[in-house]
Symmetry: C2
Subunit: 289 residues, 2 copies
Amino acid sequence: MATADHPIGIFDSGLGGLTVLRAVHERLPGEDLIYFGDTARVPYGTKGELTVRNFASQDAGLLVGLGVKMVIVACNTASAFALDHLRETLPVPVIGVIEPGVEEALRRTRGGPVGVIGTSGTIRSDRYQQGLREGRAGFGGIADERILVRECPLFVPLVEEGMMGTEITRLVLGEYLEPLRNARADTLILGCTHYPLLKEEIAAYMGPQTELVDSAATLAEAAEQILVAADLLRTESEREGLLDFHLSDIPWKFAEIGARFLGRPIADAKIVGLDEMEQAGRTVAKGTS
Amino acid sequence: MATADHPIGIFDSGLGGLTVLRAVHERLPGEDLIYFGDTARVPYGTKGELTVRNFASQDAGLLVGLGVKMVIVACNTASAFALDHLRETLPVPVIGVIEPGVEEALRRTRGGPVGVIGTSGTIRSDRYQQGLREGRAGFGGIADERILVRECPLFVPLVEEGMMGTEITRLVLGEYLEPLRNARADTLILGCTHYPLLKEEIAAYMGPQTELVDSAATLAEAAEQILVAADLLRTESEREGLLDFHLSDIPWKFAEIGARFLGRPIADAKIVGLDEMEQAGRTVAKGTS
C-alpha cells in the first residue's frame, strides 16, 4: 500500500517530460520523484493507438513496480491514448497532461478561437477537442467552431536537434501556425512536452493577441490536490526530494538533449532493459502489481 | 535447412527499407520477399549501440522464424551496429547496406574527397569510414583525409513529412551539406534508406562534380552473388515473387509514407506484437532457431 513517503512516478516517451518533472519538483520540492523516459522507443506521437497504449502500460507498470504512490503521464500522446486504461488497471492515482491543459485554456480564453498544437497521435485522438467541447472544472465547454487544431510533426526533431532560433524553425513555425494566427486564436495549447522550448518563438509569431498554455504548472497543482485528497502528500519536507532517472536507452545526444529539458545535466540515469519493460507490462496486465 | 524455394528476409527500422526491397525485387523478380519494418520503435538512428543491436536481433530473429534463406539488413544504423553480431548468431547468410555502399563509392571516386551522410548512429559507428580506409572487393582503401562525414538527423523527419522540394528542406540541405560541397567531394554515399527520396535535391545542391551512391542496387547484386554461391537462388522463375509485409505498428501516416518508399500502397501488412518481438530475440539468442 502506498504511503506519503513513497515517490511520485513520472513517465514520458523520451526526455521531453523532464519539463513536467521540473514543474512538479518546483511545486512539491519535498517529494521524491522517479522519472522514466522510454528513449529506446521514442517518439510515440507518430505511432498507432494500440502501440502507444502497450508502451504506456509498460512504462507505468515499471514505475508501479518501483513503488510510486502516483503516476504522472507527462507525454501528451500517452495521455491521449492510455489514460483511461491506466486508471482502470493501476493501483495508484494517475494524472495526465491533457486535462490540466484543457482547464487552463478554458480559464484563459476570452471568447475567441482556441488553438491546439501537438503530434499526429495527440491531435487525431480528439482528446483535447473533446475536453474543450465538454468543459471542465467549472468552466463551460466551447463550440466546435472555436477549436482549431494543427499537427506539428517537425517540432519534436527540431527541438531535439537544438534548432531553436534558426531560420529553418521560423519557416516551419509559419507553415504550421499560419492558419491559427490568421484565425486570431486568443489561446494556444502547447500539446507536447517539447513545445515549451519553442515558446518564445511561437509567442513572437502568434503575436500578443494569443496566450500560450503550457500545462506543466497546472498539472503540478492538480497533482498536489490529488495527493492532499488521498492523504498521500509528503508533509515532512525538511529535506529536498530525490530525483531518480530511469531510461530504456542512452541516445547519442543524451547529455545535450537532457540538459535542454531539465535545465542541467542528468546525473546517474539507470538503464532499463527490453525484457524488464516487457515484464513490467505483463505484471500490470495481470493486476498483480 | 533453408532451400532455394524459401523467401529472402529484409528488415529495417521502419518503412525506409522499402527502397531496398524494391531494388531486390527488380533484380530478383522470382524471389519471394518478406519485409519486416520495426515501425513501433523507429527511428534507430538516434539510439545507442546496444539498443540497436537488441532490436536488430529481434527483427532478424523474427524473419528467421518465418523461414527465410537469407537476411538483408536494409537499415544503415542496424548494419553499422549489428551486422557482425547477426552473422555470428543467425543460421543463414546476412548482408547489410554498408559494405555495398563502400564498394560502390570506391568504384566511383576519381581521387577526390568521398562524403558520407547518415544518422548520428551510422556516422558515429565509424563503419563507413573503416570500410573506405580498408578498401574492398579489389578496390584499394583511401586516406583518412579524403573521407568527409556529416550527421543529417533532420532528413528522416523531413522525408517522412513529405517535405521534399520545399524551401525548408533546401535550407536544411545547405546546413548539412555545405562543407561537403565546399570540399568538392567527387562521391557522396547516401547512408540512410530515406535519403534516396532527396536524391534530386542533393544532386542539384552538390552540383555535377559529385556522384551520389545509393547502395540499394549494389546490395541487390551482392545478394544475388551470395545466393548463387550458396546454391540458394530460386531458378524456377516462371511466377513473380510474392511480397509479404510485417510491421510492429501501423503509424498514423502509414499509407502515405509506405507508398512514398514502395512506389505504390502496401497491401495487407501483418502486425507483429511486442511479445512476439521479445520472443524472436530470445529464440535467436539461444541459437535454437
